[in-house]
């Protein structure tokens, strides 16, 4: 058990909210969260729908371990067809919202149709209703949360919402909960905005109680928490430095994409690193980092809480930004910093804060801005068009263009389209650092070869969270592989993709995988859900989820041609560092990857693969 056993279906066109039992056959085959929500989506929806039309559906889903004492068991996933990519979009978030939904007695909420006017969904245990959101439209994520809590006269209401970026349908708008936790990627916030759905406010007091074997569950989750505590990465590195522990490391290995991937090392890396965040500033003698913070149920606590320098140009006369708030994670610090050649830590924190406040993915925004700055230096985009000079390294341009993009003003409207559409419009599609239209995160495919294949084959477009082979290629987890070679990477990428799909579907955080393997997750799921969840079964579920997503993308029109990288990574060699002289070896890896996947040369599932996985 461990599922609530009930889902909510909300038809925004008709304005109806209905309860239905969870499909337990699917729950056993797809577990929950990412896997189960995707199963509902692919069964109910034509893969060719326009992502921003009423025909698209969008699902908020928890997993069987969400809302339990399993460490990091607080996650939920938003699944829809993504407007940035046209592929499956699947974005997950921590904070407290997911656990609250589960504790109200719901495994997931499926939204279909499109509301004629702004609405929000209010859930209080069994009672769920659509309410008018006229007073919330035009508000930021932060204002929306505050208003809904005040309105309910309950500070413990949890809110998952969009800010102005989602309302303006920025193609990489995020869904944000608990002020600064985000289902950040693939533009799930834009889909929410297109449906005139502002927020889901939930209060759950029932709790999660139907654990299959409660005593064993308490014992095994305690044992696995100890593994996290004793591990150098999850017990020390992440709580102390956050994911930012990586900035100097990845720069050293020559895989820190810099200035729109022109370079692979950034001379300003140390200025925007975890160490810099912990160093007292000259202005006030205090470091930017205030403390670390956990999401619901998390015993790692990698989250950053920071305070911006009040004297920084970006926040002069803006006291609303002076308090403690979500700080820089590695991917955001890279995208807002190195990707644009900006080494001003306070400017990065400002842009990051705007992304949280208005619900915008800092990775896609930062990487798109990198393309804008390159086009600016080429003279294609001018100061007159932008309203500001924007050479690489300009902290002023970073802050101002973050404002314009989130608020849907001026040239921000073009940046809001993402790098693929923007660079194509200005005649330089080769400058979009993306796969399937989604911008790359913070690892260069030339310096960490496995990540090139992971980006090219990621079901949601360029992404580090579908197969984090950095763990193996750089950190030696679970075994060290050479980041500069192609050999063995197809198998490695596939193994990471499938295992990650299983973790995501369980409702726990992928960061546990620095210390846990599937063999550590399995007994926790078995104790919560039943003994049928053996290691073999769980591995098969991961592989099934991956192939189901791929199959959806194929039906949406994606082919082997879309499993690609930009020419820059395939033809322009890395200029410095350990990978100097190397390009991505994707052409070497891709055919082998299809082979180990059981796909044909067109990247489609072979009949025997379908049979094996029950698809």
């Amino acid at each position: 058990m461990s599922w609530a056993g009930k889902i909510l279906r909300v038809n925004l066109t008709a304005g109806t909210v209905t309860s239905e039992p969870l499909n337990m056959t699917w729950a056993r085959q797809y577990l929950g969260s990412r896997g189960l929500a995707t199963k509902y989506l692919v069964e109910e929806m034509d893969a060719k729908v326009d992502p921003l039309s009423a025909d698209n559906k969008i699902i908020w889903a928890t997993g069987p371990l969400t809302g339990t004492m399993a460490s990091t068991g607080g996650r939920y996933t938003v699944v829809t067809k993504g407007p940035l990519t046209g592929a499956i979009a699947c974005s997950n978030s921590g904070g407290y919202w997911g656990a609250e939904l589960k504790m109200a007695g719901w495994d997931m909420v499926i939204f279909e149709g499109q509301s004629a006017k702004p609405v929000y969904l209010s859930i209080s245990d069994d009672v769920a209703e659509l309410k008018d959101a006229a007073h919330l439209w035009g508000k930021s994520v932060w204002e929306t949360e505050e208003i809904l809590k005040k309105q309910a006269q309950d500070p413990q209401v949890r809110v998952s919402s969009i800010g102005l970026a989602g309302e303006n349908q920025v193609l990489y708008a995020a869904v944000v909960n608990d002020l600064h936790r985000a289902a950040g990627r693939s533009g799930v916030g834009a889909v929410m905005g297109s449906k005139n759905l502002k927020a889901i406010a939930v209060r759950g007091t029932k709790g999660v109680g139907n654990i299959a074997n409660p005593k064993e569950f308490m014992r095994v989750t305690f044992e696995k928490k100890k593994i996290l505590a004793d591990n150098a990465v999850t017990g020390q590195g992440l709580p102390t430095y956050g994911t930012q522990v990586l900035m100097n490391v990845i720069n050293e290995v020559g895989a820190l994409p810099t200035r729109n991937h022109r370079d692979v090392q950034f001379e300003g890396a140390k200025d925007i690193s975890a160490e810099a965040m912990g160093t007292p500033r000259e202005s006030d003698g205090k470091p930017q980092l205030v403390t670390n913070q956990a999401c619901f149920g998390c015993t790692i606590a990698c989250g950053r809480i920071s305070k911006i320098d009040k004297t920084h140009f970006s926040v002069v006369n803006k006291p609303q930004y002076w308090g403690a708030t979500g700080g820089l994670e590695y991917e955001a610090a890279w995208a807002l910093g190195a990707a644009n050649g900006v080494n001003d830590l306070e400017a990065l924190q400002y842009a990051n804060t705007i992304c949280n406040e208005q619900g915008m993915d800092p990775i896609s925004f930062g990487t798109t801005l990198g393309a804008v700055m390159e086009l600016y230096e080429m003279g294609v985009i001018t100061k007159e068009m932008l309203g500001i000079e924007a050479p690489f390294g300009s902290a002023k341009a970073l802050c101002e263009l973050a404002d314009l993009t989130a608020n849907g003003q001026g040239f921000g409207k073009e940046i809001a389209q993402g790098s693929k559409r923007l660079t194509a419009k200005y005649g330089h599609p080769e400058l979009s650092m993306s796969s399937k239209g989604q911008e790359f995160p913070a690892y260069d495919a030339r310096g960490i070869q496995g990540m090139g294949l992971a980006y090219a084959t990621s079901n949601r477009g360029g992404c580090h969270l579908r197969a984090y082979t950095v763990a193996s290629e750089v950190m030696g987890i679970p075994v060290k592989t050479d980041p500069l070679v192609a050999e063995g990477k197809p198998e490695l990428v596939m193994a990471f993709q499938d295992a990650t799909a299983a973790f995501d579907s369980a409702g726990v955080c992928v960061f546990t995988t620095f210390a846990w393997g599937l063999a550590d997750l399995q007994p926790q799921i078995a104790a919560a859900c039943g003994d049928e969840f053996t290691l073999e079964n769980l591995a098969l579920i991961g592989e099934r989820v991956w192939n189901m997503e791929r199959d959806f993308n194929n039906r949406a029109g994606f082919t082997e041609k879309d499993d690609s990288l930009p020419a820059r990574l395939l033809t322009e060699a890395a200029k410095t560092g350990p990978a100097k002289g190397l390009v991505s070896k994707l052409p070497e890896m891709l055919p082998k990857y299809y082979e180990v996947r059981g796909w044909d040369s067109g990247g489609r599932l072979k009949p025997e693969t379908r049979t094996k996985l029950g698809l």
């Binding site: 407290y96 999660v208 403390t291 149920g297 606590a301």
Partner: protein, 157 residues
């Protein structure tokens, strides 16, 4: 030796493992809404503060109860609500200056921390040592030791 729950807010990350452990111990479900220990989140400062009953010696709740439903557990010193005696009058919730006795609609009784009979689940579950169960006479020992360390462990001048 009597022990008491000791809270160090600086170590709290806001994970709510304590709230889940408390509700599981008492109701068999993971439900922070039913927890007797609450973590308060002050997002403008980044601070999180766990708060629960401190088991006062001269407990207001105990003295206020008209039916003597609240008694002292001699082994732990905990002030314990006897649910069969409690009539749900809520006078103790008014008497308690700290708000740590609360009425439960579902049962019609009040609930408060009873130190789990001497092995508090919240302290066991806390991953950072923000909640500990230690010698009641020496709750300040760690803080004293930390300050003493500055004198005792610094290199000689």
């Amino acid at each position: 030796m009597q022990k008491s729950l000791h809270i160090n807010p600086e170590k709290c990350t806001g994970c709510l493992q304590c709230e889940m452990a408390c509700s599981f111990e008492n109701y068999g479900t993971y439900a922070p809404a039913k927890s007797r220990i609450k973590v308060f989140d002050f997002h403008h400062t980044g601070r999180k503060v766990p708060y629960t009953c401190t088991q006062c010696d001269e407990a207001w709740c105990l003295h206020a109860c008209p039916v003597e439903a609240i008694t002292v557990d001699k082994a732990t010193g905990a002030k314990v609500v006897n649910e069969t005696t409690c009539v749900g009058c809520k006078v103790c919730t008014i008497a308690c200056p700290f708000g740590t006795v609360n009425y439960v609609q579902e049962t019609g009784k009040v609930q408060k921390c009873d130190l789990c009979g001497g092995d508090p689940a919240c302290a066991t579950a806390c991953p950072t040592g923000a909640i500990t169960y230690i010698d009641a006479n020496w709750t300040g020992l760690n803080k004293m030791a930390a300050w003493a360390d500055k004198l005792g462990n610094q290199p000689a001048a």
